[in-house]
């Protein structure tokens, strides 16, 4: 039954990777900004969940909407005030500014919240249920369900609402979008806010499974990057698919090859993909 357990583990984790990458993929696809501060936004979402849990006693799943809203506002303001200055600048400049934001956020977190390991431990943490010889932890299962719900909601937003259409129009053809009266600066700010909100949600969910520290974001930015490219930049479904692919690859390689292999496998996959299918698993040729 080991193989089924490994499969389940991979899927559960993959869903979380998917939602982590969704925020980065959105911002990258729409605004051509590689958000190095993505991990810091995830970290912020995790800490908000932790403080809400510790100081106010809020269940982490119930405080999720609050976390999402706060991160949206934060992202919106950040874009309007800081990043607006460098939209459509050279890629290098966007890397530099988001890197700076990351440094500031991480170090402020360290100063105010210290490097102590924090955990969100509701009463049901660590509980699990058995299905046919497989052990499935409750929290991981609910986290997976939440990522599915959030992803569906987000995709609906993009496909079915006016805002979503405006975002997609801005991505595809900037000049035409302007001509049809879309307030581009506003769209960019909302997009970044949405990306930050998704990162915040990912952080809240991540914080339910793993310890929270100010420096937790660095490795997650990298993972999101890999997932986003694996799935295909700019395609939202691609981030989800990329997440699942990575989750399964890590789970299987860790079990059958050894725990030191997942990183090699993930980056190896990335390299192969870039050689044979650079637009990613779901990417379309015309995306620049």
């Amino acid at each position: 039954m080991l193989i089924l357990q490994v499969l389940i583990n991979g899927i559960l984790l993959g869903g979380l990777y998917g939602i982590m990458a969704l925020g980065m993929s959105l911002i990258w696809g729409v605004m051509n900004i590689v958000n190095i501060a993505h991990g810091a936004l995830i970290m912020l979402g995790a800490y908000i969940t932790f403080w809400a849990f510790t100081l106010l006693g809020w269940d982490p799943f119930l405080s999720l909407p609050v976390t999402v809203l706060l991160l949206f506002l934060y992202g919106y303001l950040l874009q309007r005030v800081v990043l607006n200055l460098i939209v459509r600048a050279q890629l290098f400049i966007t890397l530099l500014i988001t890197f700076g934001i990351e440094v500031v956020m991480v170090n402020l977190a360290r100063i105010f919240w210290t490097s102590d390991l924090r955990q969100v431990t509701p009463a049901y943490a660590g509980t699990n249920f058995s299905v046919g010889g497989l052990t499935i932890p409750y929290v991981r299962f609910w986290v997976f369900l939440t990522t599915v719900i959030l992803s569906v909601l987000f995709l609906l937003l993009l496909e079915r609402t006016r805002l979503g259409r405006a975002i997609r129009a801005t991505t595809q053809e900037l000049r035409a979008a302007r001509l049809t009266g879309i307030p581009v600066a506003q769209i960019y700010a909302v997009t970044f806010g949405l990306g930050a909100a998704l990162a915040g949600a990912a952080g809240a969910l991540w914080g339910m499974l793993f310890p929270i520290t100010p420096t937790m974001g660095g490795a997650l930015t990298l993972k999101s990057f890999v997932v986003a490219v694996l799935g295909g930049l700019g395609t939202m479904m691609g981030a989800i698919v990329g997440g699942l692919v990575l989750g399964l690859a890590e789970s299987f390689s860790s079990t059958y090859l050894g725990p030191t292999y997942p990183n090699a496998i993930s980056f190896g996959l990335l390299v192969l993909l870039l050689i044979f299918r650079p637009t990613g698993v779901l990417g379309r040729r015309e995306q620049g």
Partner: protein
């Protein structure tokens, strides 16, 4: 022209005053500077803080009790600490700067074996003693270096008391799983543990290395669960142990006993896990309520009280080890009655003194000869279970299954 000569005289006067003040200041300085590059930021920031606080408190305590006496004069100890950002390359550069341009008298170590290995080479090159309390790997001490000393016991023997206890329990442990992080310290622990398991005839059913940043142990746990060992040995840093235990609960992994190199003895680890930490074993060379002590700090208990009052958190063995490092210099300098690095180095090598950390005596290779106590977390408290070859308390064994715990 009048202006020119006036300005020149002012210049001369300023230089004279500066020289005079400098001379007075220099003559009035009777300080011994201990320099260190330690992880104030970066992935080891949490542990680095233990040493920063320990060094600071011990230096202040020594100065309060009269400082260090050399040649009839009393010297004040001073600390010069840089942040190595948990980066070994930066650490080496900073130690080189401490020696060559800051010209400190002696060196205190950084944290972690991985960083101490290259940093100690600086001490050896410039022939200035370095006493460190954060690196336990034998790779630090097995290079024939003369100027590096360490107050953490040998990494390879971290699980000695655990293994000895395991075979003497009822029913005795027959199978074991070993999981270790890919870092210098943990690889050393694993090397030693393999020998120990063989020596004590425990069958090793799992032996895997994991990347240091690993947060997700579900795959490792899934495989370990399928092998069903009696004992699990985990070598890693605090975050690894924390994740492992939490995920072992989620995956319903039930060994009879699991032991961690880092984590259980430290208060914030137990706080973070709460009841889930129950029954976990750890190892430590020092406990805050031990009846040991010496000069400057009369007892471990006294030291812990002072530390908690000043810094607001409980001292663990990292802290005590750091404090011992500073004490080593006080005793060695006074024994040598000199500030000459070579003489102090020889005094450290032949030191044999009781302190709040225990008996400080170094092996010929520079590492302290101190045993580890096997402790178990019982009802949130650290209970020493096995020390120096015998049981000193009854362990809760086998560990109750997760489904049977409240």
């Amino acid at each position: 022209m009048k202006h020119g000569s006036g300005r020149r005289w002012i210049g001369v006067a300023v230089v004279a005053v500066v020289l005079a003040v400098g001379a007075v200041a220099w003559a009035a300085t009777d300080t011994i500077v201990l320099g260190s590059a330690i992880s104030k930021t970066g992935k080891y920031a949490r542990e680095g803080k233990f040493y920063v606080d320990a060094y600071t408190m011990t230096v202040d305590a020594i100065n309060k009790t009269g400082g260090v006496k050399v040649g009839g004069k009393s010297y004040k100890l001073e600390l010069k600490m840089y942040d190595d950002q948990s980066d070994p390359n930066l650490c080496v550069r900073l130690f080189t700067q401490l020696v060559t341009s800051d010209k400190v008298n002696f060196l205190l170590g950084p944290y972690s074996s991985g960083i101490t290995i290259p940093a100690s080479s600086v001490a050896e090159k410039y022939q200035i003693p370095m006493v460190q309390g954060g690196g336990a790997s034998e790779k630090i001490f097995d290079r024939g270096y003369k100027y590096i000393f360490g107050t953490l016991p040998r990494a390879e023997f971290y699980f000695l008391s655990a293994t000895q206890a395991a075979v003497n329990l009822n029913p005795p442990v027959k199978t074991a799983a070993l999981a270790y992080s890919n870092e210098a310290f943990d690889r050393s622990v694993a090397e030693g543990s393999r020998q120990l398991l063989k020596e004590y005839r425990i069958e090793k059913v799992y032996d895997e290395q994991y990347p240091p940043g690993t947060q997700d142990f579900t795959s490792i746990l899934a495989v370990i669960k399928s092998k069903n060992p009696d004992l699990i040995l985990v070598a890693g840093h605090a975050e690894n142990s924390l994740n492992f235990i939490r995920q072992a609960q989620a995956a319903d992994v039930n060994p009879k006993m699991y032991v961690f190199t880092v984590g259980p003895p430290t208060a914030d680890f137990r706080q973070a896990l709460g009841k889930v930490a129950e029954h976990a074993y750890g190892v430590t060379p020092w406990l805050p309520d031990m009846d040991i002590g010496g000069e400057v700090f009369a007892s471990a208990r006294e030291f812990s009280k002072q530390f908690k009052a000043r810094f607001g958190y409980e001292a663990d063995y990292h802290v005590a080890s750091g404090a011992a490092d500073v004490l080593v210099y006080k005793f060695a300098i006074e024994k040598a009655n000199s500030l000459d690095p070579q003489k102090v180095r020889d005094a450290i090598a032949s030191l044999d003194v009781e302190t709040l950390y225990g008996r400080v005596k170094f092996e010929p290779n520079g590492q302290i000869a101190l045993g580890q106590v096997l402790i178990q977390i019982q009802q949130g408290k650290l209970v020493p279970v096995y020390v120096a070859g015998k049981f000193v308390a009854k362990p809760i064994y086998p560990m109750p299954k997760w489904s049977q715990r409240k």
